[in-house]
Symmetry: C2
Subunit: 427 residues, 2 copies
């Protein structure tokens, strides 16, 4: 039973974007205040989530996974929001994925019972943290990644020093030469799998890879790359199965699933001597975006032939604070408020000061730069001359993760930007 | 009187970097737990502040300002930490600077009585927010920037609709062609100053500029640039004074003071018909850094001839989680934990797994890239061969602001990385 303070904590005006004059209130009360973003009821900048798009994304991605016969273990690092974790689980997610033990703790508090830490775990404090969580939550499954004998030795040393410790569930990570973590060769992976089998500290429960870093958005290249990687993953799974290295009732086979999930979903299904649970760990689908993921998903839609059902659900609204030169408007939003790691934000809508009529941003508007607290909107010609101090501009983002982590809460809005609900984050 | 929950809030293991097993405790209790970062008492990654360097920086910058006959109004956006706000004020700061009304509220809660909002304010909700704060805190001074008649019209419209409202204190912002906000010409600035004088909604209390964006780190160019800008600022201040446009007992003259504060401090002193208070608004000096500000301050030190007394006080510690290829170590720290907007972090120290002996990072180590939760440490040759899974690496940062905003708390440590104190942030 998830405690109330996790799903329904209190918010107050110390939260950026919360109305200055509002009293402290429970999150669930936010949607009952009658606030409207365009009417000026909340200070700007403000990151908002469009409720319809959010609901649609949660359902579409879950349906995609189910339709391909795999499970979904959405990556929690994207949102770190208990309310969104809960909705992902309620939508049918197999479990949740995390990058660290502190993130895992947040997910378990929100009700996750099956968790992947898509990262190496090896420090005493983190191993103890997992063991404590499992003791406190009977039935909780946690599997983390292993990609080296050195790591397994550290895990084994901790385990040997703790007589009451149960073995840790581990996924063997397969990597790509020149890339990040993960075993580079078949032989190296097999050697590590045997060591995991031999150790009293670990149980090999599956095979993992993360394909996202090698994706380009070009279908021919991405298809060849994904096929080669997934072929390696499957070959290693088969070899481990033949040698009876898995110690589990159900073998987990999991890929990232962020940018090219259509290319990795089907290869996650395979017949081994034990049941196999394929798992995608997509994170950014929750809000999708107007940049990087929009482009990747364009390629996914083309490959699938039937389009995709993800819609950009996150927008950051700001006001024009100065129009100091022709073709330049400075907005009250900056690097402290919005993603800038993959691409700069893009203007999508605007409203004249005092009006609630939403207009599409002219195609020549672009965000040319960000400072800590300012954005530079540039646009030339007649289309730009309408923008004045006090007008509102909505920016679409690229890479949801790095906008989520700049906000402790976000309102969930309807099409008229009425605040209907709210989520909180815990980064 | 600052309430206890502001300066001494409770922390718990939902805060990234807080020990998983620790009970909820007051911030002031953190330093009494006997925790040590190198001994593994806290999960990694972990941003830490070196207490000695912090104390030295707070004092040195305050002394610099005092020695040049100007006041310090440190920019709060850097840290958004009530504990650090309090220390800056206790050190003798004239007041604090903020970028928005929500930041202002945090500063006033921490005890600031004289505040600058180094940004345009014009929306009803923000003007109301300032008015409410001033009503609740008699004697509170707040001045915000104005750079256009359009902005003043919005302020005047709000003021006219609120019969009980007092006038807002405003600083006339002087800008640079091709740059951000601020009046581009002398004539434009004078026209705006006259409008501010004429309006019942505003009182012109000073002149502001932000020189930081034009700084290059090259002394000849920066000196010429700063001289030209400060000459414009002074000429406009004189012209406003001659026309009796200031409505105040004391004229504020303020520049940014981040990267080239030595070039703008002296020109902030001038004789007008009213007393003049020069103000620097430096923010990043609190922790300084190992990147951008280190380079800027190198030039400052050369110009001053006597060095400078700022020391890098912020480090982010991570563990080696994988050494998948020769010359490559993957660390448990990424874009969600550390600055990446101006430059990538730099390895500064390391400790072998299980040891507390700190070694300097070899000069060929560099961070070649960051993902959300991973860093790529590359280094070639013999010097690199020592790094193994479980070893700890300390990274120095570039741009303190964008590391502060990734942490809800940070331990303050001594030279042996014993946790002696803690600060919290409120982004």
């Amino acid at each position: 039973m998830t405690p109330q303070y996790i799903l329904d904590p209190t918010l107050d005006p110390s939260y950026k974007g919360f109305p200055h004059h509002a009293p402290t209130m429970r999150r669930s009360a936010v949607g009952k205040q009658g606030w409207n973003v365009l009417r000026g009821d909340l200070p700007l900048p403000l990151a908002v989530i469009r409720g319809d798009a959010l609901a649609g994304n949660l359902k579409w991605m879950q349906d995609f996974a189910a339709g391909h016969g795999v499970g979904l273990a959405p990556h929690g690092k994207t949102t770190m929001s208990p309310q969104l974790f809960r909705r992902q689980l309620d939508e049918g997610a197999w479990g949740l994925t995390f990058a660290s033990v502190v993130q895992l703790r947040a997910g378990v508090a929100a009700g996750a019972q099956r968790c992947i830490i898509a990262n190496q775990v090896f420090r005493a404090i983190d191993l103890q943290g997992i063991a404590d969580l499992q003791r406190a939550n009977p039935g909780l499954q946690v599997a983390f990644l292993a990609d080296s004998l050195a790591q397994v030795e550290l895990v084994a040393a901790w385990h040997a020093a703790h007589a009451d410790a149960t073995p840790f569930d581990v996924l063997l990570e397969i990597g790509v030469a020149g890339a990040r973590t993960g075993c580079r060769t078949h032989a190296q992976a097999l050697e590590l799998a045997r060591a995991l089998r031999a150790s009293a500290a670990t149980r090999l429960v599956g095979i993992e890879c993360y394909e996202g870093l090698g994706a380009t958005g070009e279908s021919a290249a991405d298809t060849a790359y994904a096929q080669a990687l997934m072929q390696r993953v499957r070959a290693i799974a088969e070899a481990c199965d033949e040698e009876h290295l898995f110690e589990t009732d159900e073998i987990l086979l999991t890929a990232g699933g962020s940018a090219i999930f259509d290319l990795v979903a089907d290869p996650l299904k395979m017949k081994l001597s034990l049941p196999v649970q394929g798992l995608l760990r997509s994170g950014c689908y929750v809000t999708h975006d107007h940049g990087t993921y929009r482009r990747f998903l364009g390629a996914v839609a083309q490959r699938m032939g039937c389009g995709h059902g993800l819609h950009a659900a996150m927008e950051v609204w700001a006001a024009v604070q100065s129009c100091p030169e022709p073709g330049l408007a400075i907005l009250t939003v900056g690097k402290r408020d919005i993603s800038y790691d993959l691409e700069l934000p893009v203007p999508i809508f605007w409203c004249a000061q005092g009006s609630e009529a939403i207009q599409g941003a002219p195609p020549d508007w672009k965000i040319a730069g960000l400072n800590d607290q300012h954005a530079y909107l540039r646009g030339s010609g007649a289309e730009h001359q309408g923008l004045r101090v006090g007008d509102l501009v909505a920016l679409g983002i690229s890479h949801p993760c790095t906008t989520f982590d700049k906000w402790r809460w976000m309102p969930v809005v309807d099409d008229q930007y009425n605040v209907r609900d709210a989520i909180v984050t815990s980064f």
